[in-house]
Amino acid sequence: MFKVADSPLDGRVPDGAIADKWDNRKNELKLVSPNNKRKYEVIVVGTGLAGASAAASLAEMGYNVKAFCFQDSPRRAHSIAAQGGINAAKNYPNDGDSIWRLFYDTVKGGDYRARESNVYRLASVSGNIIDQCVAQGVPFAREYGGTLANRTFGGAQVSRTFYARGQTGQQLLLGAYSSLMRQVGAGKVTLMPRREMMDLIVDEGVTRGIVCRNLKTGEMEAHTGHAVVLATGGYGNVFYLSTNAKGCNVTAAWRCHRRGAYFANPCYTQIHPTCIPVSGDYQSKLTLMSESLRNDGRVWVPKSADDNRAPNEIPEDDRDYYLERRYPAFGNMVPRDVASRAAKERCDAGFGVGDTKQAVYLDFKHAIERDGEDVIRSKYGNLFHMYQKITAENPYQVPMRIYPAVHYTMGGLWVDYNLESSVPGLFVLGEANFSDHGANRLGASALMQGLADGYFVLPYTVGDHIGKHGSSLKPLGNDHPVVQEALESATSRVNSILAVNGTKSPDSIHRQLGQIMWDKCGMARTAAGLKQAAEEIRGLRDVFWNEVKVLGSGDSFNQNLEHAGRLADFLEFAELFATDAWHREESCGGHFREEHQTEDNEARRDDDNFCYAAAWEFQGVGEQPVLHKEPMEFNEVALSTRSYK
């Protein structure tokens, strides 16, 4: 199913002790003088935490920036939906936190499949992020004395999570957005909303720009510059049902992959344990209930499989608080992958609750008895409100019903330590890259990574590329052959989709893809299932190109066409996903292979054979990709079996 490259892939990690690596690298990086920065243009695709913070920071430094998003405004990016919080090693609660401890927890939480040096840098700039956000006016929760408040999140035994009610992502994104809009007002950033990136322009191996479709007019546009920054989020919607926004897609990343950027660890998917269960076949997305709820909520199922009593009628003795039973040290606060698998295990064994039996209870009874309803309301009011809206049940009175759902993708485009992809001049930030979370991301770390990359890493490293290549990169006109070729290929792809004129809607094919992915590439995977999934995906791709029906034209606002284009890329990407999951003959983090588990159903890693990032090189649709292995070296945190018992 694939070929293996001869030599290992180099992450270009700087020398020195782990705590000195980032300083050492910064000292080596080329600088661009303030007067010269204004001669250069950087293209930023995506305006979530990573993209907006990067675009704002680059403009503050003096670069000219063009910022692209498919939504009508940069403020809509899906970072906005993050609920619980953002981690930082401030140690404000005086409970023994440190940069090293945040680094350690993240490496361990990622099940030893992240790049150590990147994680250390992430932990070391985490404090600066909080400082920056507070300076912007982000209204983080505070104590009565006026200092910042913290709470605990999964996978940690300290309180290092900063939050703004249950809307932390919203407030952080609006902070980054306000900095971005300040630069728009100053004329340093040109906003390009309602644009879909369709292709990467590469000339002589160096990134030169992008092609995008103006979603309002359908016009295909080429934009060239001196570097391209991709911050386009994750690909969870390959499962159709996920907690992602409906528009989230893999298209920009996949188009870059097709132009030579390696795609790393696509199979690492985070299935979040606390989501509102699926209720009907019309369901269009799944809604997350923040992990922070596990601070006060207790997860349980009935001890007896056929206990059909209402939850409040089931006495304590007949309840199985299975997380507390299996993992006494971390209890309800185990990492997400562990909690999700434990829920699936109980439901598969017949202990699930609700009509579908595919749910477990998350119960606030004890917290409300202990702290009172008002305290619980002040902490989680908006989440309880949202739950009640969707389910018509009052979680103050009856336990929530929850089930795992696809939430975040740790895999992404491969980047080196500088966040530069395998195509020089293309940088990848946030969820769109692969580097910091290994095989499982800890709660409240996605916001941290997005802002770390955008505010404090990329602004330094992009200068190195521009310092080295900027003066030799002359602007490319629309008549340049590589620009022409990219424009024509994007146009012809749109036309081919419109020309199929079959009978099946993009949505119906996307649902089929989601079913294949959930059944065979979801929480439990087997070699045979994955192989079959790859075959079914290829078959479904043929169905798409022979039977899809997209009405309307390419030169107008056409949401159905947008969806079809994204689906076409998901259908290519999904096969790589299945191949990656099939090739990784071990279980780690969110990647659980049924063949590789311990006697008590925990993931069993194979560090001798799989302690590497799998970076895939595109060879053509349906062709065998080439696997480049970047060895993951653990010099600071010894490789060991994760235990949360």
Partner: protein, 256 residues
């Protein structure tokens, strides 16, 4: 309600492009489950239309969990429909009855031109923010976060205002299509926080000027905006904006 689902008549605004003439079209939709969200009901309609060879209804949506502000829709004349503090994506069909006729329109305001069907252009909101809805601080400049204590009640007030999702329901609900609630939410957030103090005068003056330039109307003082707001933004913020504006005009060097 029976297990059969509801039979509904939908009266939907269709408009091919910003320059085209729009019209209401009627669609019959049967067997709608009460557990569907309003947007899922529109998904079902669109799947049906594709089968019939009619172009699906365009509507903006993204997160479908009430926070991104992308979804909109006037539903039976109410912005985001009949529920309080609820976006259209969080509105569920259990709120409707078998046999209902539901009228679905786009936001209507001069500053929100229609792009297609139910989709409008809200970039005017972005321009209002870029006129002053920020603190001028570059990345890398910030002192330690706890250097600046903020009284809990001020932080709570700022958070109440900062919860605005920028959807535009306030404008759509206002007979003058005023953006005062939107603008005042951002002005308030910054006015009650110490971080926002240095720029408070120029912020309010510039944002109000931009709001006027975009073609939003004057405040009617009827609080329709507050009633329609899915994020629970209070008209107290408008009062605060007015005070900020007056102070800026009378006392600051930035005044006109």
């Amino acid at each position: 309600m029976s297990g059969q689902g509801m039979n509904l008549t939908l009266r939907v605004w269709r408009q091919a492009g910003s320059e085209d003439k729009g019209e209401f079209r009627f669609y019959q939709l049967n067997n709608v489950s009460e557990h569907m969200s309003f947007l899922e009901m529109l998904d079902v309609l669109n799947e049906r239309l594709i089968k019939l060879g009619e172009e699906p209804v365009a509507f903006d949506h993204d997160c479908r969990e009430g926070i991104c502000g992308m979804c909109s829709l006037m539903i039976n004349g109410q912005a985001h429909g009949p529920d309080n503090e609820t976006t259209t994506c969080q509105l569920h069909m259990r709120r409707f009855r078998d046999g209902d006729t539901i009228t679905i329109e786009p936001w209507r305001a001069k500053a929100f031109p229609i792009i297609r069907d139910l989709v409008v252009d809200r970039t005017s909101f972005d321009r209002v923010i870029s006129a002053g809805g920020y603190v001028s601080v570059n990345a890398g400049n910030a002192p330690d976060a706890n250097c600046l204590p903020v009284p809990k009640q001020d932080q709570e007030k700022a958070m109440d205002a900062a919860a605005c999702i920028g959807c535009g329901a306030c404008v759509a609900a206002c007979k003058n299509a005023s953006a005062m609630l939107f603008t005042s939410a951002k002005v308030s957030q910054m006015a009650v926080l110490p971080q926002g103090k240095p720029e408070r005068a120029r912020r309010v003056l510039n944002m109000v000027a931009q709001m006027d330039e975009e073609g939003f109307g004057s405040c009617t003082n009827t609080s329709e905006c507050e009633a329609a707001c899915p994020a629970g933004i209070s008209v107290d913020n408008i009062a605060r904006l007015n005070r900020e504006y007056l102070k800026a005009v009378v006392f600051s060097d930035e005044g006109v």
